[in-house]
């Protein structure tokens, strides 16, 4: 454990040095993703300029929903996204060889070798959106509410990681990875536009339990707006635990199928 922490520390330190050396696109992720969330906010503003409520959610709820999504995404970009985003490429090119032949957990190395400090402003932007949402929704916050909300956001960040990893492990088994990445993009865009509370029937089953993108931003938003039921909370926690177990199992399964493209 201590050795792993030392290694993670070293990987993060190196990443910082590399970014300082090049300064290339240091704030690139902030600009592109920041724009994405502001645009989404603008989209909802356009809809709410015509209606007062969508599925019982007011404008304030929706801003909190966008802010929460933005926050989970910011943590994703900050910590592990750039480490595992190119996993399909590494599988296709045979670049995983260098990870597999070293006495360090390859997944741990992939996850932490590309932390992106340039995404930190996204966290600030998300906090600003959340504050704006809280004031529009007229919610008074307490320490307990903030801590509970923060824990759920971290849990959902882990869920996002699990889903990213599962989809990026599929290329161990198939040739073209483009489609899989597009599936993820679709799922994210979908759950980004439609809060989980609007799903009914089979869609609820799909987006809450099978591809649980639907709960990622919805559950913390429901928590902070004090509309989350205890049953839903525990179901969400169980879903995250299951997907974490499955992602790790699937990764090990995929590794056994690794063919390593010829050099």
């Amino acid at each position: 454990m201590r050795r792993n922490l030392r290694l993670i520390h070293l990987l993060i330190k190196y990443k910082f040095s590399r970014m300082m050396a090049f300064r290339v696109s240091f704030f690139g992720a902030f600009l592109s993703d920041g724009a994405l969330f502001l645009i989404q906010l603008l989209t909802f503003e356009a809809v709410y300029s015509q209606v007062d409520s969508i599925g019982g959610w007011s404008r304030g709820h929706m801003i909190l929903f966008v802010g929460t999504f933005s926050m989970i995404n910011a943590l994703n970009m900050l910590i592990y996204f750039f480490g595992i985003v190119d996993l399909p490429g590494k599988i296709r090119r045979g670049d995983l060889d260098q990870y597999l032949t070293k006495p360090m957990n390859p997944l741990l190395r992939l996850t932490f070798e590309n932390v992106n400090p340039g995404s930190f402003p996204l966290v600030i932007l998300s906090v600003l959106i959340l504050c704006y949402g809280l004031s529009v929704a007229g919610i008074r916050v307490s320490l307990g509410l903030i801590l509970g909300y923060a824990s759920l956001v971290l849990l959902m960040t882990l869920l996002w990681y699990d889903l990213e990893l599962i989809l990026r492990t599929i290329p161990f088994l198939v040739i073209s990875a483009d489609g899989i990445m597009r599936l993820e993009e679709q799922m994210l865009q979908f759950s980004f536009k439609v809060p989980g509370v609007l799903y009914k029937g089979i869609m609820r089953l799909l987006f809450y339990f099978i591809l649980p993108y639907g709960i990622m931003s919805t559950v913390p938003t429901q928590f902070i707006t004090r509309s989350l039921e205890a049953g839903s909370l525990w179901a969400a926690v169980a879903t995250v635990l299951f997907f974490t177990w499955f992602a790790l199992w699937f990764w090990r399964f995929g590794l056994r199928k690794y063919q390593s493209a010829s050099s």
Partner: protein, 265 residues
């Protein structure tokens, strides 16, 4: 001309190799329309009209819009051109007797064509699933105007993305800018939400940009929700921008390529 036809055929075939990509094209359109269906179903609850749209009119707009978005392969142009320039393998397009824009544009057209059937299939499935009464226009002038605007819009986007790609001669690191402009374009073209929902100066400003005429205008014309006069004005704006972007593409290519270092030819 024959060589461009060959590029078209080759790129058409290439698209068919990856089965999963075909499935994903279907999924993209279905996802887009279902998302709109769920959101607007909730927004329309207890209302007949929202900003002049009926529920079915609104979903018809998204159906047509997502069909157009799925046929727009131009974002691949900027990604490929900038990647080739960055990696140093753009040189192969500089030494072949073929205009680079012609090559990339034809390639994108081939990709769009191979998707056409699947896109229509997906739209039909989505319409069936959500039981959408499509408010398609049967007025010939609107149809002709809508289809022409859509085709010219696709050509404009190819030109626009070519210009963005060519800029990699000048700015090496383009990746994040590509994401940034994609996010903005998804809104400005009307793919996220019909632009007629917007009010005030932003709406007026957007009208004179080319992007709304790539998705919003043709989708509104084809679903019988825009007048012919307004459509003609939009087409005129688009034509001016189209001429400008095609000229800019040629000019930029010739003036920036001299900076090319050609690493790793």
């Amino acid at each position: 001309m024959k060589k461009y036809l060959e590029v078209f055929r080759w790129s058409f075939k290439m698209q068919l190799i990856w089965r999963l990509d075909v499935v994903m094209t279907l999924a993209a359109i279905l996802g887009e329309i279902i998302a709109a269906g769920v959101l607007w179903n909730a927004a329309f609850s207890g209302r007949e009209l929202v900003s002049g749209f009926t529920f079915h009119g609104m979903l018809s707009y998204y159906l047509t819009g997502s069909l157009l978005v799925s046929l727009d392969m131009s974002p691949r142009i900027s990604r490929e051109v900038s990647r080739l320039i960055r990696e140093g393998s753009f040189s192969k397009h500089m030494v072949t007797p073929m205009n680079p824009f012609g090559f990339f544009c034809t390639k994108a057209a081939g990709q769009s064509a191979s998707r056409l059937g699947f896109s229509f299939l997906a739209a039909a499935i989505a319409a069936g699933l959500l039981k959408i009464n499509i408010t398609l226009s049967w007025d010939l002038s609107r149809l002709v105007l809508g289809i022409s605007t859509a085709l010219l819009g696709l050509l404009f986007m190819a030109g626009y993305h070519y210009v963005i790609g060519i800029l990699a001669f000048r700015f090496v690191e383009m990746e994040f800018f590509l994401y940034l402009q994609e996010a903005i374009l998804s809104f400005a073209t009307g793919a996220l939400v019909p632009l007629s929902l917007l009010r005030g100066p932003l709406a007026d400003f957007l009208r004179f940009l080319p992007f709304p005429h790539v998705v919003f205008t043709p989708a509104m014309l084809l679903t019988d929700q825009m007048s012919v006069a307004e459509g003609c004005l939009s087409l005129a704006v688009l034509l001016v921008w189209l001429a400008a972007i095609l000229l800019a593409g040629q000019w930029l290519y010739h003036s920036l390529r001299t900076r090319y270092e050609g690493v790793g030819v």
